[in-house]
């Protein structure tokens, strides 16, 4: 499990071979290290550290794509929180998306992972459920857009099986977000199924057998034994899925373009439109920082809460 990997106490330094403390090979090794690291350091400085610093500066400037820039202090943030017609809506939409997507995704992928793990053909099923996860998001979204069309497959079966006169899913403010969530869950569970499968494969058989002898079977065994043993994986999945779902963009952009009205505009779409449609890069940078702050805050809460429910063995 990746989390355990990270949390394992790092070996203190590298064990140094005896008798090789001499000055010159030591120095040589250092220069090799700098040489080896230079592509990474240069790349990371130019393409990550510098842009981050610049994003701070830009968020404090009125910074059009073309033309004069001027310092405006916190005005960009103020504008987003009180003047921008879609920012607050986009925050709400992003939270609604996450609130629906996260639990559905985690529960379904956990359930399916357990179900699949009982099968002789588990390898096959895991690959099969992974297909949408590895397919370009644009392709997934375009396929689902076809399914959601009025007169399309979902529309037809909603009417003929359930007698529901289905709305135009993507054009109805009441269903558009649900439609986006359904497509996203379909796309996203394959990945989490794999992570859970890895955890299930590593459940210690001796503990499970001991639990069975003690009378823990079925749902009791699942809730009291297997789930606590897997809690690091559950934590990893919830945290990662939360982070990616706060960054939702491509699905909504293809399925609804944020509509109808602004009922599915997400925070990333707001950043994209402020920056590259309205061409106010300063406001876009400010929006991106708010998104980052929100993600950091939720992640921090999750890390604090994990002490209560995540058990690290070993």
């Amino acid at each position: 499990m990746a989390i355990q990997e990270i949390r394992r106490p790092a070996r203190a330094g590298a064990p140094r071979p005896a008798g090789r403390d001499g000055g010159s090979p030591r120095k040589r090794e250092r220069w090799y290290a700098y040489g080896f690291l230079s592509p990474g350091i240069i790349g990371l400085t130019v393409f990550t550290l510098f842009p981050v610093a610049m994003a701070v500066v830009m968020s404090l400037y009125d910074w059009p794509v073309f033309g004069e820039r001027s310092f405006v202090g916190l005005d960009n943030f103020r504008y987003l929180l009180s003047g921008d017609p879609t920012f607050l809506v986009s925050v709400r939409n992003t939270f609604v998306f996450t609130a629906l997507f996260l639990p559905l995704n985690v529960l379904l992928s956990l359930g399916l992972a357990f179900w699949i793990s009982k099968s002789r053909w588990r390898g096959f099923f895991r690959v099969l459920f992974f297909v949408p996860a590895i397919t370009p998001m644009v392709v997934n979204a375009v396929i689902w857009k076809l399914l959601y069309q009025p007169g399309g497959v979902i529309d037809h079966y909603a009417a003929s099986w359930f007698g529901i006169d289905a709305p135009n899913f993507l054009a109805d403010p009441g269903t558009a977000m649900l439609a986006v969530v359904a497509m996203s869950v379909w796309q996203g569970i394959g990945y989490n199924i794999i992570v859970f499968s890895a955890a299930i494969d590593e459940l210690p058989q001796s503990v499970l057998e001991a639990a069975e002898i003690d009378g823990a079977v079925g749902i009791r065994k699942f809730l009291r034994v297997q789930l606590p043993l897997m809690s690091p994986a559950v934590f990893f999945v919830t945290t990662m899925t939360m982070i990616t779902s706060m960054q939702v963009f491509t699905q909504t952009y293809i399925l609804t373009k944020g509509g109808p009205g602004d009922s599915t505009v997400t925070m990333v779409q707001n950043v994209y439109e402020n920056g590259f449609v309205s061409r106010d890069l300063g406001i876009a940078a400010a929006g991106a920082w708010i998104l980052f702050a929100v993600i950091l805050l939720i992640t921090a809460v999750q890390f604090l809460a994990q002490r209560r429910w995540v058990h690290y063995e070993h």
Binding site: A2, A14, R16, P17, E29, R30, Y32, F36, L37, P39, G40, I42, G43, L44, V46, T48, F50, P51, V52, M54, A55, W115, K118, S119, G123, V127, F130, V131, P132, A133, I134, T135, V138, V142, I143, L146, Q149, G151, G152, V153, H156, Y157, S160, G188, Y191, I194, V195, S197, A198, M240, Q247, I254, V268, V271, Y272, L281, A285, A288, L291, F292
Partner: protein
């Protein structure tokens, strides 16, 4: 299969339950893949037969020509070649930069190593959305807007690969490295002829996921490519095609089916390492 489950199969009640469970699981899997299958079916229908009541999988003919017609409507071969080029070069750069860096972090001794590694790790927290805005300015400064460089380099130096490979290198026994050093190998020789060959599985997993991330990437090409017809990759090309041909569903689906073939092939190639690879990396599919 463990002995436990063979024992279970011997009991008739268990057998029935296993069969029922498998049939149900098969149905769920079929339902799960139905959108993709329906896309393939639609891609083979003649124009104007996309929506029928009741919905059908087969049109009046199997129209394979749709797959050729896609290339007449838009330069789709361009998008595919662009995507392959960007993803391949990007993957090579990522593998080179991160394996070199990972080796220095894992196996060379130098002052400031742990401190710099923390800086590397910290950059992993910054989401792409924060970076795209200043990155666009940077591309303007470099004169890279609307170029292959812009599609490749900005995302080729994330610390992720370095972190992943460092973990792997740390697991390689020191004795191998010692032996190479005693034989007079320089750190570079040791890296190239001892460490890299052993790290092949980790490099492979990193390569596949990096390739897929480049191939699937949408937001950045959308921002940095103006001339989609000549520099577009598959996702932006497909979305453009879709915008222009929203009612030509048979062609849109043909294009979609073509677009999911490369990743599907990689998935099949990767299948044996899927669980271990993802457990080790914690990436992909995002």
């Amino acid at each position: 299969m463990s002995t436990e489950s063979t024992a279970r199969l011997a009991r008739p009640g268990r057998t029935v339950r296993t069969v029922v469970s498998h049939v149900l699981l098969g149905l769920v899997a079929l339902l799960f893949l139905a959108p993709v299958l329906y896309a393939v079916a639609t891609a083979l229908k003649p124009p104007g037969e996309t929506f029928t009541s009741p919905p059908s999988l087969m049109g009046s003919e199997l129209r394979w020509r749709n797959f050729a017609d896609v290339f007449d409507y838009l330069p789709f071969q361009r998008f595919i070649l662009n995507g392959l080029l960007v993803a391949t070069v990007g993957t090579v750069v990522v593998l080179a930069a991160s394996s070199l860096g990972a080796y220095a972090f894992a196996r060379l001794r130098w002052r400031g190593r742990e401190g710099l590694f923390v800086v590397f790790l910290a950059t992993l927290m910054v989401p792409q959305e924060v970076l795209v805005v200043p990155m666009f300015i940077l591309m303007q400064e470099f004169g890279w807007v609307n170029s292959f460089q812009a599609l490749i380099f900005p995302w080729a130096f994330t610390a992720f690969g370095t972190f992943l490979l460092r973990q792997f290198f740390r697991g390689i026994p020191y004795e191998l490295q010692e032996a190479a050093t005693l034989d007079g190998c320089s750190p570079l020789r040791t890296f190239l002829s001892v460490m890299l060959p052993i790290a092949r599985p980790a490099l492979g997993v990193l390569a596949v996921f990096t390739f897929i991330n480049y191939w699937n990437s949408f937001l950045w090409p959308l921002i940095t490519v103006n001339d989609i017809n000549s520099l577009g990759t598959v996702p932006v090309g497909l979305s453009l095609f879709f915008g222009q041909n929203g009612d030509h569903w048979h062609l849109v689906m043909a294009a979609s089916v073509i677009s999911l073939v490369p990743t599907l092939l990689l998935l099949i190639a990767l299948q044996k390492h899927l669980v271990k690879g993802i457990a080790a990396t914690g990436i992909a599919g995002r």
